[in-house]
């Protein structure tokens, strides 16, 4: 199996190297064939790996290549392929393949076509390295590599001012997260003296009672410290409050990227990482509590912002933020399986929604403002129906994939007894209503109601080509079915085995499992539960406010002006960051430059000493009078001084 695992990683890497370095001499067709071929091969191999693991195959955990060995610590590239990894690689490769195909249509006229393919293959490679890693070093490599590709792709249209701003922002905000992440890894290296997952997990219980003095007088448990530092990394990568600010802006990148990187895969790396580290997080209730509360805040408040957005992609982006919050909530409640389950279903339906939104955008010649859409149902039936499936899955309509995963999370939080679980439960429950409201607001504004696009665009409206619609249909299938098929083994069947460890007192899924009697009964039960009725209320509100009485939102805007402004300003995070960190660092830099560099270093130290030495030289030069008796006198004085020095000594 080793060669299969190596092949999974190398196939997309080969694609990116060939198309990236030799792309100039290849035709467009050759480029996309090579990249798609690489990812398709990788998908086939990951399916082989998946069925091998599911079929009871051994968990693979071996180094592939030793980079260096220093001071007793081995730095290696190695793979850990258990069920968690197997699930992730299938999801990543499947979505990646769909996006690859879709790109042929979406980027058809773009001059950066070949560069784009090279990047997304590189992304696939990096993401696979991340999820297949068996040590922290490689995890960090993959973590940074996906961040790099994300940066490159957000700024793909580098002539656009806004794209450059957005990728810089993404880069800087992720730096904050990565700082914490790197400190966490450093702490692990310091306390465990190993970077290997297995070693660390084995030794972790021994360190449960060890404390460290972070600030003088404040003792912290080492495990809690490590978990929170790692979670700061996850907050950056998975866009949790307050490090979420980069994700909405990342929509500056081409839509396939928004689907692949900023919805389905990369942003879920944080979720994956926390689940992978479950043996550590289970040892620290504090850390779990932090994860839970941060996730719940993100889930609810980012959803609210989605209601006031006009850009179709931004609505989906805020929805992604909110759903990432749900996943974190699941993890924080120790329902890791539910978090990963939601990650998977979300990957399918959110990729579907993004690609459908992209289909709308190309049909309207890159118009993204929903105020200039409406009534598209008539023109784009395939896009309409697939988008409807995506939306229903997102709001958790019973039977569709999102229902199973989201309901499981909500129920798990309700069961949890971790501090903060009560608040989190309230927020995720209200979040259901908010989700339905912004989702169907977007849906109605785009596909129903009066046609607000300009007449010229309307003449050319038609359904997108097959390379666009086929991936939509292919993604719609798992968006509908995957939840129904996998809910039982994934959540309650102990499917993940040793990959995820849950302490007995935290095991909410086990408690929920006692009341679980199959997917069908869960659906029927769901029809009566509060989340369903909240979602329906959300849909009804959207219908009433945006189709029945379209003047209502304007009215609400005036009545609740303060609330509206808070939401439009996204709670002021961006303004705050811009004012404090952006302008502040510019001012600090300018201050250091003027005071530190120009005045102190250049003025006093460099030029000052130079001037000082120069003056000294001129003065000392005067001693050289040219008179013989002065010289002889100086010699005698020197003799006397030396003599008295020597005698005194």
């Amino acid at each position: 199996m080793k060669s299969v695992y190596v092949g999974i990683v190398l196939a997309p890497l080969l694609g990116t190297i060939v198309t990236g370095l030799l792309g100039r001499w290849l035709s467009r067709e050759a480029v996309h064939r090579i990249c798609i071929g690489g990812v398709a091969l990788s998908l086939i191999l990951s399916l082989v790996a998946f069925f091998h693991v599911v079929g009871g195959g051994e968990t693979f955990n071996e180094p592939i290549y030793r980079w260096m060995f220093s001071d007793g610590i081995s730095f290696e590239i190695g793979f850990l392929v258990d069920r968690l990894t197997a699930l992730m690689i299938v999801v990543v490769n499947f979505v990646s393949l769909m996006v690859h195909i879709y790109t042929i249509g979406y980027m058809h006229d773009d001059p950066g076509y070949k560069r784009f393919f090279s990047y997304i293959s590189l992304f696939t490679f990096s993401m696979l390295m991340l999820v297949m890693s068996n040590n922290f070093l490689q995890l960090f490599f993959g973590w940074e590599a996906v961040g790099l590709v994300s940066y490159l792709l957000i700024g793909f249209w580098y002539q656009r001012e806004s794209a450059i701003y957005a990728n810089m922002k993404a880069f800087l905000v992720n730096r904050v997260g990565d700082f914490g992440f790197l400190l966490g890894i450093a702490a692990i290296l310091m306390y465990f003296n190993s970077l290997d997952y297995a070693d660390v997990f084995r030794a972790a219980p021994l360190l449960q009672d060890v404390t460290v003095e972070v600030i003088p007088g404040l003792e912290w448990s080492v495990i809690t410290l490590i978990c929170i530092l790692l979670f700061i990394g996850a907050m950056g990568k998975s866009a949790q409050v307050p490090l979420h600010v980069w994700l909405p802006d990342s929509m500056e990148g081409p839509t396939p990227i928004s689907a692949l990187i900023h919805a389905a895969t990369m942003v879920t790396a944080g979720v994956f990482m926390v689940a992978r580290m479950s043996p550590l997080y289970e040892l620290s209730e504090t850390a779990l509590s932090v994860v839970l509360v941060i996730g719940a805040l993100t889930a609810f408040f980012m959803g609210l912002v989605g209601i006031v957005q006009h850009d179709i992609k931004r609505v989906v982006a805020y929805s992604t933020l909110s759903q990432l919050g749900y996943m974190m909530v699941g993890l924080g409640a120790s329902a890791y399986a539910a978090g990963i389950f939601h990650l998977m279903t979300h990957a399918f339906f959110k990729a579907l929604m993004f690609l459908a939104a992209g289909s709308v955008i190309i049909a309207l010649h890159h118009e993204q403002d929903m105020r200039k859409m409406g009534g598209l149902k008539r023109y784009m039936p395939v896009t309409y129906w697939t988008m409807l499936i995506g939306c229903l899955a997102l709001i958790g309509f019973p039977g569709l994939s999102g229902f199973f995963s989201k309901d499981a999370i909500i129920e798990a939080v309700g069961e949890s007894e971790i501090p903060g679980a009560g608040l989190a439960y309230l927020l995720v429950l209200l979040g259901v209503f908010v989700t339905a409201l912004y989702t169907f607001r977007m849906f109605f504004l785009t596909f129903h109601g009066e046609e607000r696009m300009d007449p010229h665009a309307r003449e050319h409206l038609h359904e997108s080509p097959a390379v666009v619609t086929v991936p939509l249909v292919l993604l719609a299938v798992p968006a509908v079915l995957v939840g129904w098929l996998t809910v039982e083994p994934l959540l309650f069947g102990g499917w993940f085995g040793e990959a995820i460890r849950v302490a007995a007192e935290h095991d909410v899924l086990a408690r929920m499992g006692e009341g679980f009697h199959g997917a069908l009964s869960m659906v029927l039960h769901g029809l009566l539960a509060p989340p369903f009725w909240l979602a329906m209320a959300g849909v009804a509100t959207a219908w009433y406010a945006y189709l029945k009485r379209p003047e209502l939102p304007e009215l609400a805007k005036e009545r609740a002006g303060v609330l509206y402004r808070v939401l439009v300003n996204k709670y002021g995070f961006d303004d705050f960051n811009q004012a404090v960190f952006g302008d502040g660092s510019v001012r600090l830099g300018r201050g250091l430059w003027q005071v530190g560099d120009v005045t102190v270093i250049d003025g006093v130290m460099v030029n000052g000493t130079a001037r000082g030495v120069g003056r000294l030289a001129v003065v000392m030069r005067l001693l050289q009078s040219g008179y013989l008796y002065h010289y002889a006198f100086a010699m005698i004085i020197g003799l006397l001084v030396l003599l008295s020095w020597a005698v005194a000594a």
Binding site: V613, A617, M620, L628, Y631, M635, V641, V647
Partner: protein
Amino acid sequence: MEAVASMAFQVPDMTPALPEIFVLTMACIILVVDVFLPERRRALTYLLSLATLAGAGILTLALHEAEPRVTFGGSFVADTMADVLKVFIYLVVATVFVYSRRYLAERGLFRGEFFTLGLFAVLGMMVMVSARSLLTLYLGLELLSLSLYAMVALQRDSARAAEAAMKYFVLGALASGILLYGMSVLYGVAGTLDLAELGAQLSGPAARDPALVYATVFVLVGLGFKLGAVPFHMWVPDIYHGSATAVTVFIGTAPKMAGFALLIRLLAEGMQGLHVHWGQLLIVLAVLSMAVGNVVAIAQRNLKRMLAYSAIAHAGYLLLGIVTGSAEGYAASMFYVIVYAIMSLGAFGMILLLSRQGFEADHLEDFKGLNERSPWLAFIMAVLMFSMAGIPPFLGFWAKFTVLQAVVRAELVWLAVVGVVFAIVGAYYYLRVVKLMYFDRPQGSAPLPAGGEARFLVSVNGLAVLLLGIYPTGLMALCAGSFAAGG
């Protein structure tokens, strides 16, 4: 005197001193030949002088043995250090002769005196280098000094040269007197002139005699003057500046190596037991020299004067190795002095090369825009300046590196730091020359002199600094080998 007369006279073994005897004989022959030469055949004197140096070189190499050979009743020694230094003295002086030829001819100084005085100076240096008693040491020193005084005065219708010669002579006499006084106290305490015996005596109980403190100070003042260490340095700028450049380059190169030998013979061989006294005092001289030399050089507008202050600063670095009192330090200093002689030879050689009748090329302005007029010479000069500033990979870097390393090994880290700080100060004025050559506009448009063999030799000189800088180990091993046996 009766004791000497009663001793049966033995003919000493002449072979270790054959190079000295050869140089003396040849110098006398050239003196006579030159008198009978018509003016237009003067080149014969020049060629004979070069042949003398070459012959001395061959003799020295042929007679070299690993074991030291002592003769003339213990007052003369030919050991590895002496042979290495002698060979470099021949090389340097021969190069000086080649560099100077055109310069001298253009100023009517291309006469036999320059070459015969030069050869007598070489003889003086050889005697100093091979001295094994206080008397021989002083004899060699005076032979060298008197030759140099006369050489400075060679340009007798130049008021500046006459003034310089006068200053040099008076101050030199004063310094010699002080040195001689110190030596006489040494003799008074130890009762011997033989350096080896003196060394043995001063390592024993006699070392506690308080008179030795006085002796040390007087000896050091004399040595400090000969090396041009602060505060006995004041003659250096005036003499460097006042002499004809051909004489300056002579004074500024080979005698430094002889001065180093003087230090080693006296301090390391004769007075090693007094290291506690002279070590400290030398530190003072070294620090003052590095400081004054490097700082005042910045204020100079004349390149010869600048190089004079640079010589003072380099004397400070040279002393750093001696200060340690260890074989490693001595070897480092020896490496330093040889490297310095090579670099300084190249720099003065460049002035000689660029000068022409009525134009000395010794002002910094004269080097402005040299790159535009001759990129090759500008490159060679840049190499020399970088090397003097101690920038890797040039030879000068290794010289500074080895002495500083020796100082650090001797646990005088602060002294190394002082050395480095002043090296940085010094880098300014060396690099200023590079800046003038490459970034300023040329002032005159007069064509550069053709140069011929001097141009070739300057190029070899500059490239040697570069190549030896890349492969410094051979020369370093040579210096280390000179002190390996002595421990």
